[in-house]
Structures are given as C-alpha cells and as structure tokens.
Symmetry: C2
Subunit: 340 residues, 2 copies
C-alpha cells in the first residue's frame, strides 16, 4: 500500500500561525471556543492547503469511526440492493459512511467479515439476511456480534427473531398467510409452492404462513405440491420444473420470492403453460419490475427501502434493550393471478 502524503493539521496550524490545538478546534470544534477571526483564518488556510482531516487519526483517539458496516448476502440481488439503498440513504443523512461486504450466503465467511468489521470500530453493524436453522456458524457469529456490542457498538439484524440484538423483522408468515387468503378468495383451489431451502428461516416462515392461510380456508397443501430449491431465480426455475414433472394438478403457484417467481414463470412457459392463464403465479417482496413483466406479478409487498431506513434508525438510536421493529407486508394482486 503506497503511503499517501497529505496535508496535516500541523501544517495548517503552522501556516495559519496558531497552535495545533486551536487549529483542531477551529476545524472540528466540538465545543466551539474559537474567536471568529481565528476560525476564519484557519479554515481558509485549510482550504487553500487542501487539508482533509485524517479520519483514521480521529477514530484512534475517539475510539469509534463515523461508519456503519453492512453485511448482505448478495448485493446483485434486487432484494438486498433495495434494502442497502435505504440503509445508505439513511446513513448519508446521519453523516455516516458505509462499509459494505457480501457474504454470498457462506456463513463461515460471514463470521470473518464481522471480525474485519469490528477491526474498523464502526458505530454500528447491520446484518441483512435470513437466519439458517442449524447453522454451525451461528454461535460464532453471534459471539462476535455480542462482543462488539459489549464493547459499545450497536448491532442491528434484518432477519428473524428471537434475537438478542435490535431486529427488523419482515412479516413473512403473516404476509404469506394473507396471500393465501387472497388467492383462495379469487377462486384458487389447487395450490403449489416453489420454495427456497427451508433451512433458511425466510422460506420456512413463508411456507408455513401460506400453508396455514390455506388451512384456514380448509385447503390442505399436500407435501407433493411443494418443491424446494435454491432461493434464487434459478431455484425458482428448478422448483417449478419439479412441480411440472411431478404432474401435480395445479391452478396456482406461490413462489417464495419474486426472483423465484420469475424463474418459475420461465419454466412454465418452456413447458407450454402460460403463467396467469392456466396456472396463476404469485411471488413475495415486490421488487422492481414485478409490475413490468407480463402478466404483472401478484406479490406480497415488503417495503424494502423502508426496511433499510428502519434498520439505520435502530442503529442510530441509543436504547440498551434490544428492540424489534415489525415491518408489515401487504398483498398486491395483479394479473398473474386472475380471478377464476
């Protein structure tokens, strides 16, 4: 790493003919006790010299950096990028920088990244991503986060409870349940589900909610009508193919995410089935473009940008007790699930 020589505070002080202490107060005066005249002179000198405060030096003495660290599974996934967008907007308003890393859903890496984050002494660490059942790394990760919190940092999870940390929780169960109701009300009777791996809590919850929603309308979701694959576009494609190959009779398919739904739609078409015609299709999340596809995709809206903002709110707040923010979801019916 080539060292970068920069203008230092000492140089500014010297050029302005004041002490370092005064220069510091003039430029970053916490309790501004500097005569206006000097303040102007120093800031001008700083400007002329192109002085930029060394954030690291400030961090060393202050003990924490004006930064929030964000860990997401995959930034190319519109779900995560929308949440990240909300986080970054809120961070900017709060005058914080964002350092970001992607775990690519490998929880071993996740632990390492959190260690690296801790080295940065950020003001908060936000982890976005579903919890895994029986994750062998879960304990190690939680330990890292707990130690960080112990040391005075704030931890916010966008995930599922229960959690010893601040938590933003999407109503996966409730949303899926409401969707089931809506779809039955539209005349759906034979349901199938394309779900991501159930070890991911998000999938388990959405499936459970959907199942219960159907049950409340006296419809039993048969196990053979549930196909499981990766929680991605390709997984949706694969799961839909499974369903089609199994020959289960279906009039409506629920995909556990919009991305899976997109893949599922393509699988249907390849099999000569028109989504929204022979078989209805619904997703979850309401990511961008769900309105632009044909037929427009029925889905459960999760306000992703707001989720990011809420996470930052928690990160910036002071409380000591871990709090949970429930983010409500709402069903959006579109052409992909016509009334029958």
């Amino acid at each position: 790493m080539p060292p970068q020589h920069q203008v230092t505070l000492a140089q500014v002080a010297e050029a302005a003919g004041v002490s370092i202490a005064t220069a510091s107060r003039a430029i970053n005066g916490s309790t501004r006790k500097v005569s206006e005249e000097i303040r102007v002179r120093v800031t001008q000198t700083a400007e002329e010299l192109g002085y930029l405060p060394n954030l690291s030096a400030q961090t060393v003495v202050k003990g924490a950096s004006p930064t929030v660290a964000v860990l997401v599974s995959d930034i190319a996934d519109p779900y995560f990028s929308a949440i990240s967008s909300g986080i970054m907007a809120a961070a900017r308003q709060a005058g914080l920088m964002v350092t970001m890393a992607t775990s690519e859903r490998r929880s071993a890496d996740e632990r390492d990244m959190i260690r690296t984050f801790r080295s940065q002494r950020p003001r908060a660490i936000v982890v976005v991503g579903s919890r895994w059942d029986q994750d062998p790394q879960a304990a190690a990760i939680e330990e890292q986060l707990a130690a960080y919190q112990q040391a005075g940092g704030r931890v916010v999870l966008v995930s599922q409870g229960p959690s010893p940390f601040d938590l933003v929780e999407i109503q996966n169960f409730e949303g899926a349940k409401a969707l089931a109701h809506a779809l039955v009300d539209q005349g759906g009777q034979r349901f199938g589900v394309a779900v991501g791996y159930r070890r991911l809590r998000t999938n388990a919850d959405r499936l459970a909610g959907f199942t219960q929603g159907l049950a409340e309308r006296s419809i039993t979701l048969k196990e053979e009508a549930v196909a499981e694959a990766a929680f991605t576009r390709d997984g949706g494609y694969a799961a839909m193919r499974q369903l089609l190959e199994r020959g289960v009779e279906l009039d409506t398919v629920f995909a556990a995410s919009d991305l899976m739904a997109f893949g599922a739609a393509t699988a249907m078409r390849e099999a000569g089935v028109q989504p929204g015609a022979q078989i209805g299709l619904a997703g979850f999340d309401n990511i961008a473009l769900t309105e632009d596809v044909t037929p427009a995709l029925t889905t459960v809206d999760a306000p992703l940008g707001e989720i990011g903002r809420r996470a930052m709110d928690l990160a910036l707040s002071e409380g000591t007790e871990p709090r949970t923010v429930e983010v409500p979801t709402s069903v959006i019916l579109r052409a992909s699930t016509p009334r029958r």
Copy 2:
C-alpha cells in the same frame, strides 16, 4: 459516538510477557523475525483475549487504509449493483474492505463524497457512472480525484474517455451500432429510440452508435422518432408514451437501457401494443431478468460483473500511466425482436 473499549496490543503483549513491538511483529509481522515459540504464544494470547487489531491505528501509521472506496449513482439499479458485486468480489479476494456511497446522480454530492472518501485514505477510489456533458461540477470532481492520485492513491473510472485516470469503458457506441445492424438484418425498417437524457454520455453514445448503425444500412433515424426522458425505468415508460403519442410509425424501438426497455414495454401494453409483435423492442446492458420477461428482451450484453472486476484489477495494479480497458459488448437477439 460511544467510545468502544477493546483489547489492545499492549494488553496482549503484557499478558504474553513480551514487548509491544514483539507482539506487533508476531501478529502482523511484515518481515517475520519472531521465534516460532513466541509467535505461537502471542497469537494464542491474542485469541484468548479476543484481540482485534485496530485498523485505524494501523492506517494512521501506515498512511493508507486497506480499503477501496466505491461511488455509484444508485445501488438499487441492477446495472450498478451488478458492477458493485463484481467489485466487491474482487476486493475481497485482494483482502480489501469496500466503503461505498451513492451519489444519486447529483454531481454536487459526488464531489463531497469524494472528499469524504479521501479522508479515509483508501487505497483506491472507483467511480462508476456516466459522465455528464457540461457538468458544472466536473472540474471540481476531477480536481479532487487528481489531488488524491497525486497523494499516492489510485483512481479508476467506469465511464467514458478521454480520462486522465484509469478507465474501464463500455463499448456503448459499438454495441448500439452492432445492434442496429442486427435489427435491420432481421427486417426492421422503421425505428424509434427511447433514450435517457443525452447530457449523459452513455445515452449520447448509444444513440449515436445506433444512428450510425442504421445509417450504414441506409436508414435515417428521424429526430421525431427519438424520445428523450430520464435514464430509468420510468423514463423508458415516459419516452415510449411520447413516441406513441407522436404517432410515428414504428416497427422497432431501441431503448437505451434494459431498465428503460422494461418501462417502454409497459407503456406499449397500456396502449394496446404487444412488444415483440406489432413493435419490436430492444434494450442495452443485459441485466438480470431480461431472459425471464415475455417476450424475452433483445439486448446488448455488457458483462457487468466483469466490468467491476476489471475496475478492481486496475485499482490494484501499479502502473503510473493512465490506462483504458475497453469492455466489449455483444448483441443478444431474443423474442422481443422477431424476424420480420
């Protein structure tokens, strides 16, 4: 910002019964001159105590932080998130952290963010986003970047040339030209274009390439067949509406990005026109989901992930002369532009 008390190197040294200097060498020994026995003892003690190096302190003394700063216009846009994903993957391999900010296409903010980046003393700054013609802030931004480079940092732009910095350039002109050829070869005759604001170089280049491609096939693109709006999904929608309202006769529309194409497709449908049937539609970028929409979208592939990786390659390389990497594009014909 609550100070965070953490285990320090001094504590580790004390607990291990060695000097701070030795502890430092044992844990981060650049030139490893520590006896194996001590090394083991120190690292174990560090582990037990939960020691984490203070990155800021290291940065202060080393003069630069193991970080690359990335500025993108909008992380929620799949174009940028795909590039970011490539950058982050490459950064991780190189053992660098990523600090990220979004300018939201406001170039005044852009300048400020670069200043803030500089305060971090990152190893490199990567700016992703099209250049504006007559951008009043352009000079100020370039000045910031130049000063940063002067001080030993590396600057990489993912943008358009000419540039005094390292540059990753997408072949917008060539790609659009090739697309024009392909569409004419398929029998297209009456072309329209939905383009983003032309002050954005990306749009100007894509439009110019497309126009020239048509010209090379003896087709003149009339000005009335070009509609200009925001370089977003909504802009595509608006531009397409303009075209339709103008009543220009069209058999094929080129949208300057896939996102614009998605919006344009919806506008067509609302007007009772089937994209891919009455009017063909093509985009640019080949973002995710272009294959999953109906009809699948013809587009120009820009390898977004690779663009990010290339940018990092440049950021990590040592050379002093500014270099340019041209990233080739390729036409992908799909159902949205059927043979006529």
